[in-house]
Subunit: 452 residues, 2 copies
């Protein structure tokens, strides 16, 4: 009786609502796991609010935290936290499907549709294969990263267990773009270790560039010698160009803006690596090789905007996503030119995608602005620090000017909400709050209005 009711209720939900429900369950489980007595060091300062905050942060792979992870969590706690953001990063849907496959159940249309909405894929065919591919690929990348970093960390830690715990944690944290650290100060201890930085940039990039890009690249590499003509999708081309365009823009912007500030007393190589790493981490990584407070205000605003843009869709990252930003720019340029269709890489974009990209951007700006206003009421921090924190939460990024532990209860709820929306994505969020659609039977005459 109860079960029948539950099933009826579940069947009535929209895919968007179901995904939000799944995320809610994941967060609840995470809260319990990371609050277990084996997770938390005895005597550590740990409240329910901290548990909720860190759980949402880990499930959404943001990396903002109200507590110092290394001081609060036991070694077991570290592994549990790692499991939580691994789970969050790959996506509840992807893992869900994997479990379906493991227990041998054939994946149904309803479940496929659910996954499709989460990973934002079009078309149902090859979906199961794709999700399996994602999982294998990500775990493979993480293991390679863990071995490389673990071996290297033997230079830093005398015990091999410590070196490999740090290696594994760092690798998963970078690849899933979780951005958590157990060093107590992100990657600042490795500020002059360019090997660690390059590996971390590579891992963060592989996680944030989007699974379709990884899968297409894998196919391209595998079919290279088979006289097989491989075409990268328009999506892959746009997102990759945007991704690396933002990386270069961010690096150059930091170098120029900080030339007479933070980088004034640094060598060219040091300056380049500080700029390059901090630019790369804005996609969604959230790791840092320096204290963000050392950057000047213009740099922090530029970084906030880069974080707001975020990573590729169908990746572990958040924000409005690279393709959204690219389509906005293409359309703005195009609108000025007065043409009727946007051509790029010898393809034309659809009006539906363009409209979607504009909606996502404006909705995201309204949400982030509202959050900023609320935080200026509840928090006693500079507007710059608040804007940076808001962008970081929405971009599921995790960089911060250090105000996270000081946040008021309301402030924490605002940041938790932003992390949730950033992870779920604006499109799904709008579908979620929009409900079941409207009556489209009634029609009225069209009438023009004057705009802007």
């Amino acid at each position: 009786m109860m079960l029948t009711k539950l099933r009826t209720w579940l069947n009535r939900m929209t895919p968007a609502q179901m995904i939000v429900l799944y995320y809610s369950i994941a967060v609840s489980v995470a809260v319990i796991l990371i609050s277990l007595p084996i997770s938390i060091k005895p005597g550590a300062d740990w409240s329910f609010m901290d548990a909720l905050f860190v759980a949402v942060s880990a499930v959404s792979v943001t990396g903002l935290t109200t507590v110092n992870i290394s001081e609060t969590f036991t070694v077991t706690g570290n592994y549990i936290l790692m499991f939580v953001f691994q789970f969050g990063g790959i996506g509840i849907m992807a893992l869900g499907t994997f479990f379906w496959l493991i227990i041998g159940k054939k994946i149904g249309l309803r479940e496929r549709r659910l996954i499709m909405a989460d990973q934002n894929q079009m078309g149902l065919s090859g979906l199961v294969k794709m999700l399996k591919g994602i999982l294998v690929l990500i775990i493979l990348i993480e293991l390679i990263g863990a071995v490389l970093l673990g071996v290297h960390f033997l230079n830093y830690y005398s015990a091999w267990e410590d070196a490999f715990l740090h290696g594994l944690f760092a690798s998963i944290s970078a690849t899933t773009n979780a951005g958590f650290d157990i060093t107590g100060s992100s990657l600042i201890p490795y500020a002059n270790d360019y090997f660690v930085q390059v590996i971390n940039i590579l891992l963060m990039t592989l996680g944030a560039i989007g699974f379709p890009v990884l899968i297409e690249t894998k196919e391209y590499l595998m079919n290279r010698n088979k006289n097989h003509i491989h075409r990268f999708s328009l999506f892959t081309k746009i997102t990759t160009v945007t991704f690396f365009g933002l990386l270069v823009f961010g690096t150059v912007a930091i170098m120029l803006l900080e030339k007479n500030h933070f980088l004034a007393d640094k060598s060219w190589v040091e300056g380049f690596f500080y700029s390059f790493f901090q630019s790369a981490t804005t996609r969604s990584g959230g790791l840092a090789t320096m204290d963000m407070n050392n950057f000047s205000e213009p740099t922090l605003l530029v970084l906030s905007s880069l974080i707001f843009i975020g990573a590729s869709p169908s990746s572990v990252g958040g924000g409005i996503r690279t393709t959204t930003f690219a389509l906005n720019l293409l359309f703005l340029f195009h609108f000025g030119r007065g043409g009727r269709s946007i051509k790029i890489f010898k393809r034309e974009l659809t009006e539906e995608d363009i409209t979607k990209s504009l909606v996502v951007t404006i909705m995201a700006m309204i949400i982030c602005f509202t959050a900023t206003v609320i935080l200026t009421i509840t928090e006693d921090h500079s507007l710059t620090a608040i804007v940076f924190e808001v962008a970081s939460a929405f971009g599921t990024n995790g960089l911060s000017l250090g105000i996270t532990p000081d946040l008021s209860i309301i402030g924490k709820f605002v940041i938790i909400t932003l992390m949730f929306i950033g992870r779920v994505g604006i499109i799904l969020f709008l579908l979620f709050i929009g409900g079941k659609g409207e009556n489209t039977q009634i029609r009225y005459p069209k009438e023009r209005v004057i705009i802007g």
Copy 2:
């Protein structure tokens, strides 16, 4: 020979380029007029940069100024400045047409198209009649305002010339939403004079609500008793509802946010009038009955966003405009609901208008954000003060936290550019920078991409 070349060159220009050219000429003339020896008090601190800044501010009816008008300008200078913002406010196009009518020339299609783009009207019929109506209406409103205020100001000034100069200046400044003052401190001397405030709010509203609304209302009132069924246009309905919605929202927001701050020691009536006036002035008026620095940070951010939205299209105001904001909101709500057409007031909106509204908003945000970053580099003021100044310039509003006179040369150029874009409007600005359109012969297959 020269003239033929000039004519060929002019004929090749797009309407958008011609309007920018006309505004540039108007600014040049204004620079000369307000810099005449009869305009400036002997010994006053006055540079070319001040002249350019005040000229653009007056032509664009913004009201930001790098100098104190009452300390810098002679009485003649006051009248000249008044003439400049009167000219700017009504719109160079409207006045241009009026001159065409006066000298008896029949208005040609090319000129009509030009005016259409500026006032953003659709359809060419009845345009001349409309522009004539605009002029008569605005001047009538200004004269009534001048008489009402002038008589009232006899309570403040012993000489009737002073009272009526102040009355005329205040009336034109409010009606054109120029926001300039010759009191040296906006309407602060009338902070407890609710008659002056109500008159100013009425005048600002009549100027900022859009000429189509005024004309339709006039027609409605004139035809009321003739058994004539009058229908207000969809534009008038949307912009009026949005206009008064923003007024109410702003008033309530200020009252709530300042309850324990600026309004803490004020009576209910005082608190209401401070909130009501400062909310009304954000549409585009730019006058103030208090020092904006007394507001707390959240209030200033909310006011910045209201100023960014600005006034109705086809009015003397700037910003993204009320209809743009309304269509954004309608579309965001609608997108979530999943319907296929937006119905409002028993009419459907066109996709073209919706897309236009999204483009305007995003472009405006990119422009304002870029300006903000530049100002954080060049100016030594708080982010809040800079954001407020940027919004004020783009919204051609004129409110300020007092940083305008301190701006660096680059800072002044940034603000000048924003006032110019705010007045011309984003749509025209995009058409201007976009040039002549692209080759639409080549077609490619359409391909979807993943968004947000």
